[in-house]
Amino acid sequence: MKSESPVATILDPLTWSYDWSYEIERSILAEHGVKLIVPEDEEHRDTLVARADVVVSSSLVHIDSRLIASFKRCVGIVCYSSGMDQVDAEAARRAGIAVTNVQANTMEVAEHAMALLLALRRRLVPMAAAADSGEWDLRLFPEIWDIPRLHGQTVGIIGAGRVGREVAQRARAFGMRTVAHYHLRPAAADPLLPHLELQDLMAASDNVVVCASLNPDSLRMINRQTLSAVKPGAVLVNIARGSLVDEEALLDALNSGRLAGAALDVRDPEPPDGSDPLSGRSDVIQTPHMAGASAGALDDLHRLAARQVIHLLKEAGRL
């Protein structure tokens, strides 16, 4: 039945973000005869998702089996992100609904991971504060003296997918060795990025970068047990998902001095609670879930999301 034009709808429209609009999606979809309808309120949303051919998710709403049951005509869910952890994958599979992500910002995330790693290791925060203090003599600022040479250190990548491999490539350009804990081992092992079991990776790495996707197996994979294996003086960078890390265990590892620092772009929950013990520390760098952000990535995100919608409709024979 091709008489009615297919409909895509945004489950949870972003309204707060910088200059966010769906004009790029709307115009690309219109070219293919697909209608994009953005809900005005929750009631409108419930009506819309019931008859939408494709549902687009901004990760604000958890898509559980109950919600999926209300998608009467849906052939696919497009996530506006690399992560798809907001969708109950099993429930979607049972309902015959394909779930896809949009990879618009792999480079940004890898660049942000390296920015955080360098900022942490080279003590950017106290350095910038020292320059702001009105004194130029660095002998007055012993807190910035203790910097290790990165050349020859080891970077452990947890989750060597697209982002993880890009981070590894950049780390090697600094003369660092790279090892990885793979979720899916590649058919042919990469000699520059060999696989280690998680505990072994923690013990071998001076710098641990968490790039894994979140799923029931990876939830709190960085916990008391994994952190007990960490090399003394190592640092942890997380640009993936906050709940990959048990934050209490992280706090204890920082307090004991076992970990020399952490740089976090993601937290559990987001934003962190008001009394957050991690954000205010001098050994923690916090950015507000913006590793994937850039002006160019935002344009790509809109464009690629629209393409995914069209792809899913074609696959399902609705276009």
Partner: protein
């Protein structure tokens, strides 16, 4: 060949050079370390009869150098030797050596940190949460830019410039470089393309300076050259402050010609004008000449400085002379 007393004088930077003093004393040299606050003229007077003088950051101009009646070697404990009047030293028959190879990785790492901080607006992104408690970067998002695929122009492809080029290649940057002293194939060897300075300035998204400061390139970036850059360029300097006219850069930031500047060095060091208006701009990141810092670098600086002094005291040729013509080993 006269018999030299086995003596070394350290004019300043005593903390950093403490391992050098230890190393020299272990090799039975007598080391005089001047107290902090001694003026260059006083230091030169004290150094007059010492064969080797090690200088941290102190300026040694012709006035000071003319006092060095018995000195044969001035070592600048660092890479840049613009604090020493080399011509005056050569005229006085005094060798000048630098210590060039202790912090190449550190300066290159720091340069990439400055590049990434500028492109990702890292200081502002940290402040939105820490100071304003906002869990987003909406205000700065239009200014945050992907690094991959952009053009990095490296001015000066020496040890550090090459180390920066290697790192930049890992990020998928299009590296171009200008170095009047290198043949083009050496630019290619590090994955870059040799261009002239005009093309570098006109086409680069990011300009990073890695040349030594000389009379010819003082204020390389001034009002005139900043008129020729690509609008919105990012300026990085972890070399020498004197390469940039801060007033001109401030003007270019005001007009939007330059979108961000990340500076580890400022004109007028060791006492730069820390009240300069450029320092209070949100799109300027300053670190206080810390690009060279690491535990390994500071140790290697001290040890390499001591070894250079010992080579001379033992009658061997120093390794890193910048004016080998000043004298001969037999003088």
């Amino acid at each position: 060949m006269s018999i030299k007393p086995r003596e070394v004088l350290v004019t300043d930077a005593a903390e950093v050079l403490a391992p050098a003093v230890k190393h020299l004393e272990a090799a039975s040299a007598k080391v005089h370390v001047l107290n902090a606050g001694v003026t260059p003229v006083e230091a030169a007077a004290r150094a007059a009869r010492t064969p080797v003088v090690i200088i941290g950051h102190m300026h040694f101009r012709s006035t000071e150098i003319s006092k060095l009646s018995e000195t044969g070697l001035l070592i600048r404990a660092g890479i840049g030797y613009d604090v020493i009047d080399v011509r005056a030293a050569t005229g006085a028959g005094i060798w000048v050596a630098n210590v060039p190879d202790f912090c190449v990785d550190e300066v290159a790492d720091h340069t990439m940190l400055l590049v990434l901080s500028a492109m990702r607006r890292l200081p502002e992104s940290m402040h939105t949460w820490r100071r304003q408690h906002l869990w987003h970067v909406n205000a700065t998002l239009p200014a945050i830019r992907r690094l991959n695929g952009r053009r990095l122009g490296i001015v000066g492809l020496g040890r550090i410039g090459r180390a920066v080029a290697r790192r930049a290649a890992g990020f998928g940057l299009d590296v171009v470089s200008f170095d009047p002293f290198l043949p083009p194939r050496q630019h290619h060897a590090v994955g870059g393309t040799s261009v002239d300075l005009g093309e570098l300035l006109a086409t680069s998204d990011i300009i990073s300076l890695h040349c030594p400061l000389t009379e010819e390139n003082h204020h390389l970036l001034d009002a005139r050259s900043l008129e020729t850059v690509r609008r919105g360029v990012v300026v990085i300097n972890a070399s020498r402050g004197g390469l940039i006219d801060l007033d001109a850069l401030d003007g270019a930031l005001e007009s939007g010609v330059v979108s961000y500047a990340a500076l580890d060095v400022l004109d007028g060091e060791p006492d730069p004008d820390l009240n300069h208006p450029i320092l209070s701009r949100p799109n300027v990141l300053v670190t206080s000449h810390t690009a060279w810092l690491s535990n390994d670098a500071s140790h290697e600086l001290a040890i390499n400085t001591a070894k250079e002094a010992l080579r001379y005291l033992d009658g061997r040729l120093p390794r890193n002379l910048v004016n080998p013509e000043a004298r001969s080993l037999e003088d």
